[in-house]
Every structure is written in structure tokens, then in C-alpha cells.
């Protein structure tokens, strides 16, 4: 409280500089870029798994085709994992997501393939079919989430029990709707959400998406910098900012390039050419898949959820409650309402996943999403979400989902028997969390 200290420039004090000079080159790099070492570790682990499986499978894994499929397979679990982060951060759990996914998938299937056509009288292929089905599914997800959230937040039944009940109830409901009968086929537009050659946006659109994303990255970096400048806060060195931007853009454009390197299969190209009156030239027609629609949906969900957790009051409250529920309550936060909202978000995300999974299957079955709750929880936890609450990131959970899926489809490529697959996935989950515990103790 002396005058000398008030004139000091904010941030770079002598002590800070002294501390910085003591760090190693790696330490300085991490400090300058403000990268999360945990996240880097996960990306590293993912790359090790990828390269390892690639070598073991004799070069089958790191191909455009396999990576493209991997991205589509990951999207459904990744979407739900983003919501599970919020649930777990608030010291709750949701065991019902797989069953919620199942019952919503069933409702959406019955709505578009039977109810709207036979009872309401829509024509097959009417664009309203998929829109009404999707909206109804999302609304139902919101309702189920609100219902479970209400019991947890206001009636004070533990989330574990409520969602364990939900696991059984919603799976039973999924069966009851059609007495176990599978509903197929689904609306052709609805099917686009499942990926496949037609469910992808093609080469040109993919490049445009990539370019827009790169511009957005650059804008965010510049905007953040100017904001901090406005208040004279310490800034990242320019080289670090540039490096971050370049790496991010390279990753985005690399992903687009891979998606564009996977052409449509010959049969589908021939069919497409016939339908559109194009003659297939000598040597075949090269039509790239581009980014799959479910992947785009997952990325969009990831961005929105990151925005919610980092930039909104609600997200801040979720983390504060997870860190210290009593403090949050004393700060005047309506913790019950926040809890209920988190479960509502989880329900909506389960509905989106249900749309993707059933569209990909082109059918609604009562088994849709079975055991997904465990994959989703595992993805969130591997992605650094602490079951003790208060810590977790959306990006980490999505990477966790990608890691789990990589392991699983990698083992399929390697021809490993399914019992052994389960053993490996289970062991990896435990080891990953153990490593995380060790890491957290040291930092």
C-alpha cells in the first residue's frame, strides 16, 4: 500500500522475469505460448497410438479413408462427451445418455418413417419430415434432461441414482414404442446426418470451411491480443502468437486435405454419373468426400460448448459450483437451476447424437446407443475431466472421444478379437486416469 508499488507496470515484475529466466527452453516455450501441457500430452498420446497402429497394421491406419471414417465414428460420442464435461464438472454423472439416445432415435425414426406419413399424411420425401422429426427429437431430449435435472436439483435425489433409473427407463421406452421392431429406412435428407458420400460437403465447400476457420483463428488471436493491450496486461510474445496461429491453421487445412483425399467409391460415382447424365471419363471420375456432415455438426457443437463454458456466465457458474458448491451458493448463484440446465443441455446433445447414429445406421433400433454412456464418460475422463468436479475442457473430452475411437477401430483393423478389445479399452481408461492423477499431483 505504498506509492512506489502503484507506479509499477502491471505484470512483468522483476520477480517474474527472474522466474522466467530460471526455466528451461521447454518451460519458456510453454510459458510463452500458454499451452496446456496436459492437452499437449493427450495429443502426443493420440499420435503415438495412431503411428503405432499404423505400423502394426502394415500402413492401414493413417490413410484418408480410415481417418475419414474415424472422424465420422467419433462424432456421436464426441458430441455427448462435451455435455458430460459439464455434468461431471458439477460433480454429477449421467448414466442415462445411451438410453436417452436410444429412445430419441426411436421417436425420430417412427416420426419420419411412420407417424407423419400414415397418421398425419405427409408424402414420402417431404422436407418437413426430417425437420419435424429432428425438432421433435431435440425437444424430447430437452424435456427428458429437464425432467431428470429437476429430480436431481430440486428433489435432491443423487444424479447417479436418477440417471441409473433413466438408463433402464428410457431403454425400456425405446423398446415399448415399436415392441422392439426396427424402423427403417429413414428419410433421405435425414440420412445425410450420418455421413457417407452424400452426407459430406465435397471438396470445394470443405476448403471454404477450412479457410473460414483459419480466418476465425487469426481473428481470435488478434482480438485477444488487442483486448489485453487495451488494459496493458502482459502479452504473449509475437513469435508465440504466430506459431499458435500457424499450427492451428495447418491442423485445420491438413484435416480438410485428408478429407478431400478420400474419393467416393467407384460404384457410387457410377450411380451418381448415371443419375446426373455425366459420362465417366477413362480412368474414373474423382469426387472427393470432403468433410462429413456429422463431423461438421460435432465441430459446431464443440465450438458452441466451448463458448458456453468459457464465455458465458452460465459456464462460469458451472465451474464455480464444481470447485466449491457452498461458495457458489454464498455468492448468490442459483445452483439448482444451473444443475437443471446442465442436464437439459445433456439431453439436447443426446438427441443430436441420436440423429447422427440412427442416420448413419439408416434405421432406428431399440439397441441404439447401448453402452454409449460408458464411452461418453470414459471420453470425458480421459480428456481430463476430474470426477472430483471443477476441472475439464470440452476440447479435451472431444480428443478423449477420438482417442477411444482410434483404439477401437485400430484394434478392429488389427483383427483383435472383441473380448480382447474390451480388455484393452478398459485398461487404457484406468491407466489414463492414473497418469492424470500423477500429473495433477506434480503440477
Amino acid at each position: 500500500m505504498t506509492d512506489t508499488t502503484s507506479n509499477q507496470p502491471v505484470g512483468s515484475t522483476a520477480a517474474d522475469r527472474a522466474r522466467a529466466s530460471e526455466l528451461s527452453a521447454v518451460g519458456r516455450f510453454l510459458q510463452a505460448t500458454e499451452l496446456d501441457t496436459r492437452m499437449l500430452g493427450m495429443v502426443g498420446a493420440l499420435l503415438v497410438i495412431w503411428v503405432g497402429i499404423h505400423i502394426l497394421s502394415g500402413g492401414l491406419f493413417l490413410t484418408p479413408r480410415n481417418l475419414w471414417n474415424l472422424s465420422v465414428q467419433t462424432s456421436s460420442v464426441a458430441i455427448m462427451a462435451t455435455g458430460m464435461v459439464l455434468v461431471i464438472v458439477m460433480r454429477n454423472i449421467d448414466l442415462s445418455v445411451g438410453s436417452v439416445e436410444g429412445v430419441i432415435g426411436m421417436i425420430m425414426g417412427v416420426a419420419q418413417a411412420e407417424f407423419l406419413i400414415r397418421v398425419v399424411g405427409f408424402q414420402l420425401g417431404d422436407p418437413w419430415l426430417w425437420i419435424i422429426a429432428l425438432v421433435a427429437g431435440v425437444a424430447l431430449g430437452l424435456l427428458i434432461g429437464a425432467f431428470q435435472g429437476f429430480i436431481i436439483a430440486y428433489m435432491e435425489v443423487p444424479a447417479f441414482i436418477v440417471t441409473l433409473g433413466g438408463l433402464l427407463v428410457w431403454r425400456g421406452m425405446a423398446w415399448l414404442i415399436t415392441s422392439g421392431r426396427t424402423v427403417a429406412p429413414l428419410d433421405t435428407t435425414f440420412q445425410l446426418m450420418g455421413g457417407g458420400p452424400r452426407g459430406s460437403i465435397g471438396a470445394t465447400a470443405s476448403w471454404i470451411v477450412g479457410a473460414v476457420a483459419c480466418v476465425a483463428v487469426a481473428f481470435m488471436l488478434l482480438n485477444g491480443r488487442s483486448q489485453r493491450k487495451r488494459f496493458h496486461f502482459p502479452l504473449r510474445p509475437v513469435w508465440a502468437e504466430t506459431l499458435l496461429g500457424v499450427v492451428a491453421c495447418a491442423a485445420i487445412l491438413g484435416a480438410v486435405w485428408i478429407a478431400n483425399s478420400y474419393p467416393w467409391p467407384i460404384g457410387i460415382v457410377r450411380q451418381y454419373a448415371q443419375q446426373n447424365g455425366i459420362t465417366v471419363p477413362e480412368g474414373g471420375l474423382y469426387i472427393a468426400h470432403g468433410i462429413a456432415i456429422p463431423v461438421l455438426m460435432a465441430v459446431a457443437v464443440g465450438i458452441i460448448m466451448t463458448f458456453i463454458t468459457k464465455r458465458t456466465r452460465f459456464g462460469r457458474y458451472v465451474f464455480a459450483i464444481g470447485g466449491n458448491p457452498e461458495a457458489a451458493e454464498l455468492a448468490g448463484i442459483n445452483t439448482r437451476w444451473v444443475t437443471m440446465k446442465v442436464f437439459m443441455i445433456m439431453g439436447v446433445l443426446a438427441a443430436i447424437s441420436a440423429a447422427i447414429s440412427s442416420a448413419r445406421l439408416n434405421a432406428s433400433t431399440n439397441a441404439l446407443g447401448t453402452l454409449d454412456e460408458l464411452l461418453v464418460i470414459a471420453a470425458a475422463v480421459i480428456g481430463g475431466t476430474s470426477l472430483a468436479g471443477g476441472a475439464g475442457t470440452v476440447l479435451g473430452a472431444m480428443l478423449g472421444a477420438l482417442l477411444m475411437q482410434s483404439l477401437q477401430s485400430g484394434m478392429v483393423l488389427l483383427g483383435i478379437d472383441s473380448p480382447l478389445q474390451s480388455i484393452v479399452v478398459g485398461a487404457v481408461l484406468v491407466i489414463a486416469v492414473w497418469l492424470d492423477t500423477v500429473y495433477r499431483k506434480r503440477v
Partner: protein, 270 residues
């Protein structure tokens, strides 16, 4: 003793806070039983008593953490309805809890503005502006504090305490409740808190101070209020009683002549 007239211990004017006949029970236990206490602008009133005497509970009723079963609270002479922490803050009542009540996993700025975040025109969190404000207020309390980017769990006890104090004074509190504010602090930081209390006092802020340290209390407080078994033993100006007499109030419930006895005072058979 009965012919001695008790001195007027309360200052004149409208009290900032007037809690009248407050009671609360948890299960069958009456944690606070018909307690009355008041606080005037620019005054420090210390609440003393054993563990479990009911002082923290009484103060949590004022800060909105607990809902009282009976009694009234007047703020500036007008009856106030306080049923949750948000209500209390509306009346300018800020609390520094014994446990600090910080969200350990978020940074200092997020804690300072928890529940009262600054927003941008887009309706998003204005983290930069909050950090700027945080730097300002922390610069006043703890000029060497620079760890604005770290979750508060990584801070030292003293730094955490200064975050909790900064949060309480950031929003122009009129009434400040400090529950064991120096419990986690070293001698130098304790002196700093003492300095802060005097500064806030001169700004006309009323302060309730809960403490076990009777020495601290005589240094900072204008009046003491002693509680025992949920009841008020008595209230006295620190100038009218000795430390030993206050200890007698705490331990035995014996009200000295310099104090106004409350319902909890030891009844001496006449």
C-alpha cells in the same frame, strides 16, 4: 450492584444494522435463541464466544446463508427481507467467511466477480475488464500479488485471504462481516488487515468482526457482544470493560457492570 446504573453503551442515531430477537433451530438445537444486536456506521462490533456459541450462525442469518425462524432485521431503520445471499448483497452486506468461500478452481478475478460478473455488450463475460478491476483492488490490498491467471487453490493462505477480502470491498459494501479474518494469516498480514479495518471504518462502513483473539478484538472493536449457548450474554464498549471481564462473559456468562446484559447473562440469585 443493582443500584448501579448501566452506562449507555450504544451510540445515538439510526443503526446501520439492527437484528432483533433472532432465533434459529437446527433439528432440536436452538443455535441462536432470541439474539439482538446492532451496528452503527463507522463502528466495529466484535462477536465473541466459544465454538458453537452461535456467533457464526447469527452472522450467516445476516448474510443470507441461513433463513431465520423468528426475529427481524432492520437495515438503516427499515425492515429488510433477507432470505438468500443475493438479498443481503442488495443491502450492501458483504461477508468474508471463515472458510473464505472461494471457488478454488477459478482465478482471482473470477472469484472477485462470482455472481456479479462484468459482461460485454454481447452478453459474454468480460474477462479482461474483470481482470483489470481485480488488479486495481488487489493492488490496494496486496501490491505484490501478481498471480492473476492461476486458480486460487494454488495461492498461499494469505493471498487467498486477500482475494476474499477484496471481493467483499469491491462492491462498495456498507456493512462488512468478517468471520475470523486473520485466522490464516501471519503477523504482518494480520497487521495489514487491522490497517484495512481502520481504513474501512473511517469510510463509514460498519463491521461485524468474529474472532477468537481477544487481543485483536480490543485493538479493533468499539463494542463487543458475547454469545453463549445461542444467547447474547451482554454487549459492552471495549473501553468500559477489561479483557478479563470479557473472558468471564465468554466462559461463565457472567455480565460485568460495564455491559448491558442480554438474555443469556448468568442470573445471579439476588
Amino acid at each position: 450492584m443493582s443500584d448501579k446504573i448501566a452506562p449507555a453503551t450504544a451510540p445515538v442515531g439510526t443503526p446501520l444494522i439492527d437484528m432483533r430477537n433472532i432465533s434459529i433451530a437446527f433439528g432440536g438445537i436452538r443455535a441462536v435463541d432470541d439474539a439482538s444486536i446492532d451496528l452503527f456506521p463507522g463502528e466495529v462490533v466484535a462477536l465473541l464466544g466459544h465454538n458453537g456459541a452461535g456467533k457464526s450462525t447469527l452472522i450467516k442469518i445476516l448474510s443470507g446463508a441461513y433463513k431465520r425462524d423468528a426475529g427481524q432485521i432492520f437495515v438503516n431503520g427499515e425492515e429488510a427481507s433477507i432470505s438468500n445471499p443475493r438479498d443481503a448483497k442488495k443491502y450492501g452486506i458483504e461477508t468474508i467467511y471463515q472458510t473464505l468461500a472461494l471457488a478454488d478452481n477459478v482465478d482471482a478475478a473470477a472469484n472477485l466477480f462470482l455472481g456479479r460478473e462484468l459482461m460485454t455488450g454481447w452478453g459474454t463475460l468480460d474477462d479482461v475488464a474483470m481482470e483489470a478491476e481485480a488488479r486495481k483492488v488487489m493492488g490496494r490490498l496486496n501490491p505484490r500479488f501478481q498471480r492473476f491467471k492461476e486458480p486460487v487453490i494454488k495461492l498461499s493462505g494469505g493471498q487467498r485471504q486477500s482475494v476474499a477480502i477484496a471481493r467483499a470491498i469491491l462492491f462498495n459494501a456498507r456493512i462488512l462481516i468478517m468471520d475470523e479474518p486473520t485466522a490464516a494469516l501471519g503477523p504482518q498480514e494480520t497487521a495489514q488487515v487491522g490497517e484495512l479495518v481502520r481504513q474501512l471504518k473511517s469510510d463509514g462502513i460498519g463491521i461485524f468482526l468474529i474472532s477468537h483473539d481477544i487481543h485483536d478484538v480490543f485493538e479493533l472493536a468499539d463494542r463487543v457482544c458475547v454469545m453463549k449457548n445461542g444467547q447474547v450474554v451482554g454487549t459492552a464498549r471495549t473501553t468500559d470493560v477489561t479483557q478479563d471481564e470479557v473472558l468471564g462473559m465468554i466462559i461463565l456468562g457472567k455480565c460485568p457492570p460495564g455491559a448491558i446484559p442480554g438474555p443469556g447473562a448468568l442470573k445471579i440469585a439476588a
